[in-house]
């Protein structure tokens, strides 16, 4: 029988062994003992050998059991498993393009956005510090996906994963949408699910960039600030097209509610106004021969005054509300560009 001393020693040695084998993210893991994995499996009601997806680029088989092993290592609880299974399914969808994300020199990491009743049931934070630390569910569910990408997909940093910098979301990157504070339909409803459904969206994106506007009280004023902040030469979608995410704080969202703005109005405004003159984007940033491939026919690359939209179409902008009730900020997270994007999958309980 183990004493507390030998138990502690065993945990430390298991952690050392897993780290040496490249099976961790550098942080301590929960040892995936058979009894613990059985508990995780029991919460799914599925067989351990059921295949959910193969994870690029190594195409490791993400069976329910392997997902449970990695989820337990991450510190997840059995009740988290339905979210993780759905997230793995979304991760492997072709439109997400995870093979590009796993091997890129860019910083991008898959963000999980959870919608529906399960967010509250599991206490997935959508409010204060929601992209930061402190909430077990956010920390561990996001981490489970990262361990799965590493251990089943092969995305080891410095090896397959060639990211120049990485970003902190490569430890964990998981939030819930603050549906109560939003004047609009939640992201999953926008994508065709019922409000009573729970769903998870996977979107590979950069770390949050804060856009501060404490001056404007009108929606149009806040949008001017947002568009000015994101219409820059360094913004990835400018050259590579693709999706981006705008996270609007509850304080900013109130202005949109007061001024009667729909989510569609936000998307159209960004599409129309977040643009960069061709003369400014040419021969700098990510300018190369492929830019023409992603240029709308109505933008003349020979006209320096023509304006390239950051987003090639309004629906390339994902919009959610999240964050604390105090703070007049919004966040912008560009995606990696074509052919990657977001995918939303229903969470089955």
């Amino acid at each position: 029988m183990q004493t507390p001393e030998t138990l502690g020693q065993a945990v430390r040695r298991i952690n050392a062994a897993f780290y040496e084998r490249g099976w961790t993210d550098g942080l301590p893991i929960v040892p995936p003992t058979p009894d613990g994995v059985r508990e995780m499996l029991a919460a799914t009601g599925r067989g351990g050998e059921e295949l959910i997806a193969e994870i690029p680029p190594n195409m490791g088989r993400a069976t329910v059991e392997k997902i449970a092993v990695n989820a337990l290592m991450a510190g997840c609880l059995p009740d988290d498993m339905p979210v993780i299974l759905a997230a793995v399914k979304a991760l492997a969808e072709e439109r997400v393009g995870i093979q590009a994300i796993q091997g890129t020199t860019d910083v991008h990491a898959p963000l999980l956005i959870v919608n529906g009743p399960i967010a509250r049931q599991l206490d997935i934070n959508s409010g204060p510090n929601c992209f930061g630390q402190g909430w077990r569910a956010n920390a561990t569910i996001g981490r489970a996906i990262r361990l799965i990408m590493l251990n089943l997909g092969g995305g080891a940093p410095g090896k397959i994963d060639k990211s120049t910098f990485g970003h902190p979301g490569k430890y964990t990157y998981c939030v819930a949408e603050n549906e109560e504070a939003s004047p609009w339909e939640p992201l999953h409803v926008e994508r065709g699910f019922q409000a009573a459904d729970s769903a998870v969206t996977i979107f590979p994106c950069e770390a949050p960039h804060q856009i501060s506007d404490h001056y404007n009280r009108s929606a149009i004023g806040i949008m001017r600030t947002i568009c000015d902040a994101i219409a820059t030469v360094g913004t990835t979608p400018l050259y590579r097209a693709g999706e981006a995410l705008l996270v609007i704080s509850p304080e900013h969202a109130e202005a949109f509610r007061s001024d009667g703005w729909r989510k569609r109005d936000v998307k159209m405004h960004v599409f129309e106004h977040a643009r960069v003159p061709v003369g400014r984007m040419k021969y700098q940033g990510d300018w190369d021969a492929s830019v023409a491939t992603f240029t709308p026919r109505w933008v003349d690359l020979d006209d320096p005054h023509a304006r390239m939209p950051i987003l090639r179409q309004p629906d390339d902008l994902l919009v959610i509300v999240a964050g604390a009730r105090a703070g007049r900020f919004s966040l912008f997270m560009p995606g990696w560009g074509f052919p990657t994007g977001s995918a939303t999958v229903k969470i089955e309980r």
Partner: protein
């Protein structure tokens, strides 16, 4: 059930896919390119086609190639379609695959 390890008397499950992927044996090497069909598969990134031009020129100078087939993926971040890979494997005696940047 996943493979397990015993560490300090504690049994733990292995988080990786321990099933070995099928062995991929390289195709038999050609002894010459004389009279052969040479393929090139590029990833669409910058400078690669120019590099392929140089390689094709040099090899065409050294060997009487029967034909040269140049193909590109649609995008560097996308896998080459199966149909493209099958075309190259059926029509070429050798294929040079390149990654530009």
């Amino acid at each position: 059930m996943s493979a397990t390890l015993m560490i300090d008397g504690v049994e733990v499950l292995v988080p990786i896919d321990e099933h070995k992927p099928p062995e991929h044996m390289p195709a038999p090497r050609l002894t010459t390119l004389e009279g052969k069909v040479l393929g090139f598969l590029g990833n669409t990134k910058e400078n690669l086609e120019e590099l392929f031009d140089v390689i094709q020129g040099e090899l065409s100078h050294r060997y009487a190639l029967k034909d040269v087939i140049r193909r590109q993926k649609r995008h560097y971040a996308m896998r080459a379609p199966v149909a493209l890979l099958e075309e190259l494997s059926h029509t070429c005696d050798a294929v040079i695959v390149g990654v530009g940047s």
